[in-house]
Symmetry: C2
Subunit: 235 residues, 2 copies
């Protein structure tokens, strides 16, 4: 029962702590949609599934609670947070403000190496899209896209800003896809916008970079007309 690692993907050199393991595992479950809004998060169950005791599970849940991904109430079972359309809009609005600011700062600070990295990331994203088509490229895309934005956030050289963007303004991909335009519509535009952001950073033009990032994020901003046809029978 209590062998150390039941099965894991994150087994690098330095053994990571039990709470890190638990945190990333649970977070992944939520962000990928394997656990859906309202699902119960039972400490014992999670502890057994991940192979650690309740203590690190509780610590992980508290972090996720602070990040807004789970809802904890005293003596009540934790549940996966629910994201309404309003929540999605709020998150994108705040992302636009903060990531726009970050991009502006990055324009005058980013290193040549980071610019190369951004270009490489975008190149791979577009190549995967050409190769795999609309839907199959999504799994790889999310990861690469996250790093694209993370590189820019880091280049802003504002640690608190970086942390807020990374931890307080996340949205599960499933929720995002529910409220946003369908992939087919937004993919090509996203690539064009990424290229423009990159160009603005290369030009070291803060205003342009900020505006391009804002345009990118606001174009993704969920609308009531997002994709009403989805309506599956879950509810």
């Amino acid at each position: 029962m209590t062998n150390e690692t039941t099965r894991d993907g994150a087994r690098d050199g330095a053994t990571q702590s039990a709470v890190e393991t638990a945190y990333h595992r649970i977070r992944h479950l939520i962000l990928t949609g394997e656990m859906r809004s309202g699902d119960k998060l039972l400490e014992n169950q999670l502890a057994a599934a991940i192979g650690v005791s309740r203590t690190p599970i509780r610590e992980a849940l508290n972090r996720l609670n602070a990040e807004g991904l789970v809802v904890l109430e005293r003596y009540r079972r934790g549940i996966v947070a629910d994201f309404s359309l309003d929540d999605a809009v709020e998150i994108f609005r705040l992302r636009a403000i903060l990531e726009g600011h970050a991009t502006s700062r990055a324009a005058s600070r980013i290193s040549e190496a980071d610019l190369q990295r951004l270009q490489e990331l975008e190149r791979v994203m577009e190549a995967q899209f050409e190769e795999l088509g609309w839907n199959e490229h999504l799994e790889g895309f999310d990861k690469l896209n996250a790093e694209f934005h993370a590189v820019i956030a880091a280049a802003a050289e504002s640690p608190r800003l970086e942390k807020i963007l990374a931890s307080s303004l996340e949205l599960p991909a499933s929720i995002f896809n529910r409220y946003s335009e369908p992939v087919e519509v937004r993919t090509r535009r996203t690539h064009a916008q990424h290229r423009e952001i990159l160009a603005a950073l290369r030009a070291r033009n803060p205003e342009w970079a900020q505006a391009a990032m804002n345009a990118h994020l606001f174009s993704l901003l969920p609308t009531a007309s997002g994709s009403l046809e989805h309506e599956d029978g879950a509810k």
Copy 2:
């Protein structure tokens, strides 16, 4: 030694949890300057002082770590975070951006009751200042001022924005006073600025309100010339 409450100010009706107690107590120690940057936060010691076990202490320290007030490293003793001038500038810049946005939103949403509350808060702040003078009014001022800003943040009706402002962009008062202009210079101006923000909110003018809040915060933004004469022997 281990009686439940050695001494406390937060003893309301509903018994609050041990971690809440610990969190608020430790946070207060840091924000008021009773514990200074670099001071060691030993779990056993805090547990004994507050009268709970290590478990809630650890939870509280983790929250404070996420908020940036303490620094935790695996297997290392926690310490009170150090705030450089750059940190203070960063915090004020982000506060200006986010609180400006919040004030803009508040202008078109704030209730009459909240406007009354803001006016009352400002009235008391000014009265205490007139009565007590430059320095003695400070303890009361910090609390009232915090509520003034909190009321506006709440009126923006953006829960994540409110949470970020309340938890990720705090600065210990002692640090603030170290880097900012001396009280005598800023107090009267602060009151005038508060009145202007209130007027802009009353006028329900988002641009004005945002600009007034920005002016308020940027005027407080620490500068290298802040108060260089302090130079005590700590360093």
